[in-house]
């Protein structure tokens, strides 16, 4: 991707800027607009309502109207806020979730940076959000915000451990941290995906299948917690903490938190898809192969990646509008007493199987 723009523009800086802005304008912003509407429609239809209906056909322009409203809103900063941290926090939170998109392989051509430590980089960079959240809670000078951000930090740190243990088991099987290589490895049909034990037809593959399913469940649950979605939306818990760490934010700063939440939702789904569900690989083969049109393949790959990612986002929404919320101690119990030991044993067993 970088080479393409380098050839076109002849400047490293210009092509670097283009590359870094591409996911934002091509994907994150349209996705956030779409996801907010999807969330409202999904929740509405689950609750015997219609949801937004006024702006455009079935309210399809509702989020655009909302964004316009948010832009025009007064940017309120309370008197006793720590101004510097208060303004910095939404930027840091957004940077964390935005930077993760740099290494996500949307298709074999559309990958921001094809670095070898892709998955390691995602784990590291998404933790940046913790700093921003704590900053927001502290700088707001609001007890509810502080409680919310404290909970959030405890939660995200606790749930990173099972996530990383599962990622480690994948790395053990495949021997690579490069997300693009991981996706390429799972080429072919859906039984070559890592959730079905990876490519090939050996005994190891069939032994791995149950443990890969366990790993998949663990990583899905813990990523749900990492992006603060129900049943783990304790940091925001509107019935207890009003709205958690972003209680005091308004206007575009609030929109930044909002945007990063939805960007995060897709980012974690993308990680799960890339690791377990074949990344951008089609489950049933490509039309490009069928019609002998190689240029079609990357577009199809992008389509499949988006479909897989959005369907996981849909499941996140589905859970949100079905399940109640856990309590803080129950949340910690889930992570430390169940997910981490299971993930650890899963890791050991997968290690033994790969040694076979």
């Amino acid at each position: 991707m970088f080479d393409l723009f380098y050839k076109l523009t002849g400047s490293e800086i210009v092509s670097g800027v283009i590359i870094s802005l591409l996911p934002l304008f091509l994907f994150i912003l349209p996705f956030a607009l779409f996801a907010v509407l999807l969330e409202r429609k999904v929740s509405a239809h689950m609750q015997d309502r219609l949801g937004p209906m006024r702006v455009g056909y079935h309210g399809i322009f509702q989020t655009i109207a909302d964004i316009l409203k948010l832009i025009q809103k007064e940017d309120i900063v309370a008197k006793d806020n720590d101004k510097f941290l208060f303004n910095l926090a939404p930027i840091i939170v957004f940077t964390g979730s935005y930077a993760a998109f740099a290494v996500i392989p949307f298709s074999s051509y559309f990958i921001g940076s094809n670095i070898n430590l892709g998955i390691f980089y995602i784990v590291a960079i998404t933790s940046l959000a913790v700093v921003g959240i704590l900053m927001a809670g502290w700088a707001s000078n609001n007890k509810y915000s502080l409680l919310g951000s404290m909970r959030s930090v405890a939660q995200i740190i606790s749930y990173e451990i099972p996530t990383i243990l599962v990622i480690l088991s994948i790395v053990m099987i495949t021997g690579t941290m490069n997300l693009n290589t991981l996706s390429e490895m799972q080429t072919g049909y859906f039984w070559n995906w890592l959730i079905f034990g990876g490519p090939g037809l050996s005994l190891t593959k069939f032994l791995l299948i149950p443990f890969m399913f366990i790993g998949f469940l663990i990583i899905y649950i813990s990523t749900l917690a990492e992006v603060n979605r129900t049943p783990f939306d304790i940091p925001e818990a509107e019935s207890e903490l009003v709205s958690g760490y972003h209680t005091e934010y308004s206007g575009m700063k609030f929109a930044m938190f909002f945007l990063s939440e939805y960007a995060n939702m897709f980012a974690v789904s993308a990680i799960v898809v890339a690791l377990f569900l074949g990344g951008y690989q089609s489950p049933v083969g490509y039309l490009g192969d069928l019609f002998n049109a190689p240029w079609l393949i990357p577009i199809e790959q992008f389509f499949w990646f988006t479909v897989k990612g959005v369907s996981f986002v849909f499941v996140q929404m589905w859970l949100r509008w079905t399940l109640p919320r856990l309590r803080v101690d129950q949340l910690m119990t889930t992570s430390w007493k169940y997910l981490i030991p299971i993930a650890f044993f899963n890791l050991i067993i997968i290690g033994i199987i790969t040694l076979l």
Binding site: Q47, K143, E240, L323, L326, R327, D329, Q330
Partner: protein, 371 residues
């Protein structure tokens, strides 16, 4: 070196999504653990009791609506029961039956709000809208009856403001038919949800002795295992003619008297209310509903205490008459006011999230606490 720590005082409300109105709770926190809860009330005080002294007896009826605004019919019913006891009025059968139907419909509507908002407090928002969808149907029934959806002014001293709509019986039967499966759906979605049980069972345990000492009544008392219901134990109106059970908490998911028990008693009570309504509709006699309404109410000197089983507990009116057309004093025993007193007992040692769960489970209405 020891780290210096201090307790945090957190003001919850009066503008807070889950204080169910304008209650302010002063929480003392040690981390997330609550060490003390002080409720501050009075944000909705409208001098109901003092107002009554300046009004004639029939004029008080619409004011009773505004106390427990989720159970206006029951409030009017209580006032009518107390006044008829004071005046010694014999009310026609048809009036009694319609009053019972209205009070039980109101009980279902009120419990639906309690259930729905409780779900929302725990973080499940969908049951809230399911409950409000069903409540809407009851409000429609009330609307065809008396034109109002929230504050009815329907049950008058000695009768009703007017008879029911010709379609009322048919529509109520339709509602019952639709509501039973909906209730099951809500139960599947919320009541037996594992996370919901984890959040509510063994949280805010109200032992039966504490409940009695504080004077708690209604579903909160029954949730603690006490089979006490004024409809059975001190029957008023025509409740003795109906066959229904008094559900009590059995601690099937934790300890007797925990939040889940209080919640589940309400669910079961709605089913019992449906039974009562069905029986009352079958037996509904013909007759005039306004014949016994006195032209001018001027009771003899004396006092009276009339009580009814409101959705939230024992609603009592203590009325002192000095022989004039307006009361000398009216005192209301509000069930929410009494239930709220146990909050501190229930919340100590729990977490902030549990305060919300406990407050929701005792189901208070601030309009009634402040009056």
């Amino acid at each position: 070196m020891a780290i210096r720590t201090e307790e945090m005082v957190l003001n919850m409300g009066p503008q807070h999504p889950s204080t169910h109105g304008v209650l302010r709770l002063e929480l003392t926190l040690e981390g997330e653990i609550v060490t003390n809860v002080i409720p501050h009330i009075g944000y909705l005080h409208r001098c109901f009791e003092k107002h009554c002294e300046a009004m004639t007896y029939p004029q008080i009826v619409p004011y009773t609506d505004r106390m427990d605004y989720l159970a206006s019919m029951s409030n009017e019913f209580g006032y009518a029961v107390a006044m008829e006891k004071l005046l010694g009025i014999e009310v026609p059968e048809r009036v009694q039956y319609i009053r019972v139907i209205m009070a039980e419909l109101q009980r279902i509507a009120s419990h639906l709000v309690a259930l729905g908002t409780y779900g929302a407090d725990i973080g499940a928002f969908t049951p809230f809208l399911f409950c409000f969808r069903d409540r809407e149907k009851i409000l429609n029934l009330f609307e065809i009856t008396c034109g109002a959806r929230l504050l009815y002014n329907y049950i008058w001293v000695g009768g009703l403001s007017h008879d029911i709509h010709p379609d009322f019986v048919r529509k109520t039967r339709e509602f019952i038919k639709e509501f039973r499966p909906n209730l099951k759906e809500t139960n599947d979605l919320l009541t037996h949800n594992r996370i919901f049980i984890d959040r509510t069972a063994n949280v805010g345990i109200l032992p039966i002795e504490t409940a009695i000492n504080f004077g708690v009544s209604g579903p909160n008392l029954r949730g603690s295992g006490m089979k006490w219901d004024i409809r059975k134990d001190d029957p008023y109106s025509v409740y003795h003619k109906f066959d229904f059970d008094i559900p009590v908490g059995d601690g099937r998911n934790g300890t007797v008297g925990d939040s889940w028990d209080r919640y589940f008693v309400r669910v079961q009570e709605m089913e019992e209310s449906l039974k009562i309504i069905e029986q009352a509709l079958d037996q509904l006699p013909e007759g005039d509903v306004t014949s016994a309404i006195p032209k001018r109410i001027k009771p003899v000197v004396g006092n009276v205490y009339g009580r009814v089983e409101n959705p939230r507990g024992e609603l009592g009116y203590f009325i002192i008459s000095d022989g004039s057309t307006s009361p000398y004093r009216v005192k209301v025993r509000a069930p929410s006011f009494v239930s709220m007193q146990v909050l501190n007992e229930l919340c100590k040692g729990h977490m902030v999230a549990d305060v919300v769960a406990i407050l929701g489970s005792i189901d208070i209405v601030l309009g009634e606490i402040d009056r």
